[in-house]
């Protein structure tokens, strides 16, 4: 799952010269993930992993890193 999220973010949303050196805990928002990026990311995640991510939980706490994103998705995947 992490790899799929990474691939989408680094190929479609934010520019990171060396994605491999970007850790799963590194801050995506500080690296340029903005509101438009978040919107595209959520549309992708919902389709890709067949989950509904509640509007009220779209928040930097859940979106800030690859790890928090995975945790958030798994919470709703059950």
């Amino acid at each position: 799952m992490k790899q799929q999220i990474r691939n989408f973010i680094f190929s479609e949303i934010i520019f990171v010269a060396e994605p491999t050196s970007f850790s799963d805990d590194d801050n995506l928002i500080e690296s340029g993930l903005d509101s438009m990026g978040i919107m595209r990311l959520i549309v992708f995640l919902e389709e890709q992993f067949n989950v509904t991510l509640p509007d009220s939980e779209i928040d930097p706490d859940n979106i800030k890193s690859i790890n928090t994103l995975e945790k958030w998705i798994l919470l709703h995947k059950a």
């Binding site: 934010i14 520019f15 010269a17 340029g32 509101s35 978040i38 919107m39 509007d55």
Partner: protein, 477 residues
């Protein structure tokens, strides 16, 4: 007339109205006036008339106070985008050659000439009851830097008359009164902010600064709009799309929000229809115009004419503009009092004939006699409301070690309009990742290419010029 004057008159009429709300702080018209008089007193001692003064502060009460004081002192304000990388800020400051740069605390590392730095918190408390400097209609008021097709950012210089003309048009058209609660999100280097800064304060309205972090949490933003009883908001379509899609508008109704005004990029009809269904009582306006003309065309959205398959028109002339279409190219030509005075370069105004401004936008008239927008005649991109010249991105990429050639194009995007993408030709034995690494520090986020494509050589047309259409196809394949 100095554009500050309507605000000062309003201070007499409604001294106790709230002018601004920023986080927990709020400030009345008379309190704001006191701050502005103090800063103006200080600037008057510095004899800054007709000189450019840069503001290195994020949007908020302090930076609005600076803007009004700079204008009252007869100087020209230049809002810097503090989200820009240091190198771009240096380029802008080097080009603008401001007399002073106002910010908080110690001078930032990127500032080479620290003598220009003025710490806002150190401005003395001495205050006189100053009257705003006399300004002729053509006196310059603002310089807004935007992406330049020559590879460097360029400063669009706007006069007092240009700002006043738009401000009073907007006040009348949207009937802005002292009861209005206006939400403000636009950074001050964008022309959309002219509404938030000037139309509001000359009407006695209250402006509420939206905390930036809320743009990452759409349903919290919706709740904030509800809590602050926002009645009017002028913003960019991409953010409105986000709220329409993910802002919990089905759960939080916004009964006070009467007017939503948008500009800066095409509002995808699908999203606009979605938003207008969620806000059945709001009136929507589509405003159009490059920074050089501010708003020159507008359309009051007619809900029954919205069609997901069709873009909305940009409508009728606004602000008294006279519009015409070049019969050969279809280019929109704008003749308006709003028009800019020229570009600010190397510390001074380079006057050019700005009476009839050729927008570079292709338009046509529809059956209702309304103007419709059909894209750019040149390569300019619109990325999340930002105007981006591919040439400026190419300028940075081509300077990187390891790059032989490059070409930047726009990839269409459902949400952010377009995103830049770069095709590059590398020197032998060069790695892409290593080569492009420095870009992160050189370009603002919205200008960073989201995709790179390494080619052996760039496709060219028979005349030897780069074939951008072919590059677009390569990205799509």
């Amino acid at each position: 007339m100095n554009i500050v004057t309507p605000f000062l008159q309003q201070c007499v009429r409604t001294p106790n109205n709230i002018a601004f709300v920023e986080a927990e702080e709020q400030i009345t018209y008379s309190e704001l006036r006191a701050i502005i008089l103090r800063l103006t007193t200080f600037l008057n001692f510095k004899h800054v008339q007709n000189q450019c003064i840069a503001i290195a502060l994020d949007r908020g009460i302090s930076s609005v106070s600076c803007i009004y004081s700079i204008l009252a002192a007869g100087a020209i304000y230049l809002p810097l985008d503090m989200k820009n990388p240091a190198t771009r800020l240096q380029i802008i400051v080097e080009d603008a050659q401001p007399r002073l740069i106002i910010g908080f605390g110690a001078p930032p590392d990127w500032l080479l000439d620290i003598d220009k730095w003025l710490d806002y918190s150190q401005i003395p408390a001495t205050s006189f009851n100053v009257t705003p400097a006399e300004s002729s209609p053509n006196s310059l008021a603002a310089i807004l830097y935007t992406s330049g097709s020559t590879g460097k950012p360029k400063g669009v210089a706007l006069s007092h008359q240009a700002l006043s003309n738009f401000s009073s048009w907007a006040q009348k058209t949207f009937t802005i009164t002292e009861k209005e609660q206006i939400a403000s999100l636009t950074p001050f280097h964008f022309d959309l902010s002219i509404f938030d800064i000037f139309t509001s304060l000359s009407s006695g309205a209250s402006v509420h600064f939206i905390p930036t972090h809320l743009t990452l949490s759409p349903s919290r933003l919706t709740y904030w709009l509800y809590e602050h009883k926002i009645s009017c908001w002028y913003t960019v379509p991409s953010l409105l799309s986000f709220i329409a899609l993910k802002g919990s508008l089905d759960k939080t109704s916004l009964p006070n929000l009467k007017q939503i005004i948008f500009a800066g990029e095409v509002f995808q009809s699908v999203h606009l229809i979605n938003l207008s269904n969620l806000l059945p009582n709001a009136t929507f306006y589509n405003l159009y115009g490059p920074t050089e003309t501010n708003v020159s065309c507008y359309w009051k959205v007619e809900r029954n004419r919205l069609n997901p398959e069709q873009n909305i028109p940009i409508g009728q002339p606004a602000c008294g503009a006279k519009l015409s279409i070049n019969s050969e190219t279809g280019e929109l030509i704008v003749n308006s009092i709003n028009n800019f005075s020229g570009y600010w370069q190397q510390g001074e105004l380079r006057p050019i004939d700005t009476k009839n401004y050729a927008t570079g936008d292709k338009v046509s008239l529809n059956q209702y006699g309304e103007y419709c927008y059909h894209g750019r005649l040149d390569r300019m991109l619109k990325c999340s409301g930002h105007r981006v010249e591919p040439a400026e991105i190419e300028h940075y990429i081509s300077k990187l070690d390891g790059i032989q050639e490059c070409a930047v194009i726009g990839i269409k995007d459902m949400t952010s309009g377009q995103r830049p993408a770069a095709a590059v030709v590398l020197h032998e034995n060069t790695e892409l990742a290593e080569t492009i690494h420095p870009l992160k520090k050189q370009l603002p986020t919205y200008m960073q290419p989201s995709k790179f494509l390494v080619l052996d050589k760039l496709p060219v047309l028979s005349n030897g010029k780069i074939d951008y259409q072919a590059i677009k196809l390569l990205f799509n394949s």
